[in-house]
Symmetry: C2
Amino acid sequence: MSFADEARALDAADPLRSARDLFVLPEDVTYLDGNSLGALPRATAPRIADVVTGQWGTGLIRSWNDAHWIDLPQGVGAKIAPLIGARPNEVIACDSTSVNIYKLLCAALTLRPGRRVIVSEPGNFPTDIYMVQGLAALGLAEQRLARGNPIADFVDDDVAAVLLTHAHYKSGRLHDMAAVTAAVQARGALVIWDLSHSAGAVELDLDGVNADFAVGCGYKYLNGGPGAPAFLYVAARHQHAIANPLSGWMGHAAPFAFEDAYVPAPGITRMLSGTPPILGLAALECGVDTVAALGIPALAAKSRLLTDFFMRAIAGTCPSVECVSPAHPEPRGSQVSLRHPDAYAICRALIDRGVIGDFRDPDILRFGFTPAYVGFGDAWHAVELLAQVIEGRAYDRPEYRERAAVT
Amino acid sequence: MSFADEARALDAADPLRSARDLFVLPEDVTYLDGNSLGALPRATAPRIADVVTGQWGTGLIRSWNDAHWIDLPQGVGAKIAPLIGARPNEVIACDSTSVNIYKLLCAALTLRPGRRVIVSEPGNFPTDIYMVQGLAALGLAEQRLARGNPIADFVDDDVAAVLLTHAHYKSGRLHDMAAVTAAVQARGALVIWDLSHSAGAVELDLDGVNADFAVGCGYKYLNGGPGAPAFLYVAARHQHAIANPLSGWMGHAAPFAFEDAYVPAPGITRMLSGTPPILGLAALECGVDTVAALGIPALAAKSRLLTDFFMRAIAGTCPSVECVSPAHPEPRGSQVSLRHPDAYAICRALIDRGVIGDFRDPDILRFGFTPAYVGFGDAWHAVELLAQVIEGRAYDRPEYRERAAVT
């Protein structure tokens, strides 16, 4: 069977085929960058219009109570919880991934007095290790990058926590969350999982693996919109014992008592800092609702089929291109990354022709397969176009080599 | 002349009278809570609809470049700058006020090695002092609350910085920014000004008073919407010497090089942390544009007339109510606060009758006079209704005493 026929057959058999209608996608685009910015759910524009014109414009300040704005961080967190294997009171939506990492690094240091090293991987998503460096510059921590495997070998009695991204942003490779968590905890340290590249597309079972802490991004597979609020998970067993270094009024036990002394709210609410960003939270809620309605098991199953098909089609059609994502579906996230010396120019040439993937410095061409709205025909179209662009050297034009501000 | 006649005359002479048309306000509401949540500018709903449907839905990831999303924090900051007496490259829009205070507290401590005390006022807006307490809990600072005046008397060689809110959230009293800044600096410390209750309604001249640092809120007089991003000011002379403790990827000199080592961006950009919240920034930009078009001098002049008229009308009509805002216009922000033992119930009764002010624990009734959309007739209507509610004890109903989640 040709790849084209196989794509048609897989699309016909796809139980999520109609899920694409839950999103607004331009006709002339094949969107393989949902791992960078998820597509717009159909529910979002009317919801945001109502938040702006109805709740803000007409409800004004009253909407903090009447439209339950004040509960959105907890409410959206509770909706994210089942997508990542957590209980509703273990997750809250707030701030950015970076800021949430900082909170959890401090929390981990508090739980492990006498230990001050944070272990991470070289090549982890930059903001994760930059946050460790910020803490180190204050004299509060020391960074250790584990140049080798297994990561637990780098955990000694000085290590308070290990900070890892579950799905690597470049390769899509997944860490074995259960094994790493157990091994690190056996050495007395905690684990902070960054789920930015896995939440919403991959099965996650934070409570099941006895996770300590996690953060994740709202604007990738959760489709929360550009710069959406992030989320933060704290296992229930740790919540009473940790402090939020960014101890703003929304994390206070009684914010509207306006007292001079900070008293942390019970539970996950203490992890809030400033006033919740309502437009961003409302958009994130629409994205989360959309994903939740489809269900992670169905999404993850389709993701594996999609990436498997794409990798086989690439191998059969563009054999000169190296695939850097894991061949086995088990440790593979919902993306496939290819290596090519002209990756940047190729990425630009593809975008010019309606196939949107992205580039990661220096030579990675990255395709995200958001199972909710990417079909097998899309994957095959991208392979065909990639083969054509590479074989005909269509990418070899100066305008495709000029780097944009954001790549 | 009766207050009613005076209100009519003042409205007729108001050069900003038509500015109300720049906002969407419900017909049946007199909105005197713009100091808590600014009203919806008419420009915002269509802009947000375009950002959601056009830039996100159709432009997708390309909008980071094509719609200049990546430049919004600096761009919106540059538009806020002239409203607060700063140069465009001294202001950036990002995160919440709370989180930005934390960044600047750390920056101040870095600039004053050997000093670790942060001075603030008891009764300052809670989140400000809570952020100091968060830093103190990490062992990085010590809080000192100045129980007396002048504040500079509390600044000794241990003090790195003084953190003050320019317009007090309860009373509206303004600090003398020039005098306090000079006195604190003369003792070797820095000042962090929280402009949350003054930016957009009061003349500010940060560069003129040789300010060091400032933060402020986007959702009050800047009309950025619920939970809008905040802003942050760093005087140009300090920018090269400070570090951002929340050193996320957007503050890196080359975020898309994805390097393991954090290198701060030049200038104010290093104060960014995570990915910018685009919906919130776009809404904030609409609010800032609206304020900027009217001009701070005209807004501030009207604000003084409005609060003066309201205070005289209260004194003449409800003599039993104590006014806690300064009688002289010079140290008075754009709000008037009244004290009454039944303030909460009165506030609820007024809201029920279409006059929206707010309550601050335990006995403050607070009215914000956003000069862009509040008229003198509105002020008089509020006074008349207040007199009627108090005299007739219309507030004395159990349902007005039940505290809502947000007060």
